[in-house]
Amino acid sequence: MKLKNGAIPRIHSFTGAAFDPIMLSKPGPKGIREAWDRAYSVNVASTQVVTHQFIPLLLKSANPRVLFVTSGLSSLATCSAGHTSSTIGASPFKGWPKPNTPGFVAYYSSKTALNMMMLNWKRLLEPDGVKVFCVSPGFLATNLGGVGPELLKKAGATDPADGGSFIRRVVEGNRDEDVGRVINKDGVQPW
């Protein structure tokens, strides 16, 4: 596995400090800040601004919906039960520093924050009849993270077209009974 800067990360079979990829090329506080600041800036703050700004146009619709694309690993219940991504796994070894393995913690945390954001929009927009959801499309082989779909497929990612058709069903009103929840193609994702 090669990253954008050509570095080859050490991937251990055990787990530890789950990092976001930028922390490989920028170790220490700089990388931590960049990963966490950027994840929240893009995935949370920017999404909040866009939604806020577009409300007047949504209120002109006869049947408005707002969807927030989130992640399966944004679930506190799932992660606290120990079910994390295939790249994280079980408890880390004792001691410090922990061995580095990919874990994308800043990314997943930002998506948990996004789920919280959705709840506020659901509450605010309910009197206006706007249907609000988080949609969790699943682990799909896209270019998220910049490592390429082929590598993600090897880790178990499926066809991104599945995500597209699931989201389309939500747009078409097939999941309106699940307004205000985090939903995936199989049902409702736990908080």
Partner: protein, 96 residues
Amino acid sequence: MHIVLVTGGNTGIGYETIKALYASSHAYTILMGSRSVIRAEEAIEKLHNELTQSASEVSALQIDIEDDLSIETAFEQVEVKWGRVDTLINNAGMLL
């Protein structure tokens, strides 16, 4: 006419969502939000090649969700041209 705006729509899940809508029998006006108009236009061309017939139309909308001016401009363009949004899909995101 069902107007759908997808941020980060030129690639990944955003593109696949647009493609699924485009392939549907429903008539959508799809706004492909993208930081780069060029990349959106390339994605739209790819979409036309993959699906030659559709009840829907897709157009590129420049929007960088980290840029307040870009968001404001996008809002104004949508307001002037279409006057409303029926479905907003906040898809643009990043894993660094």
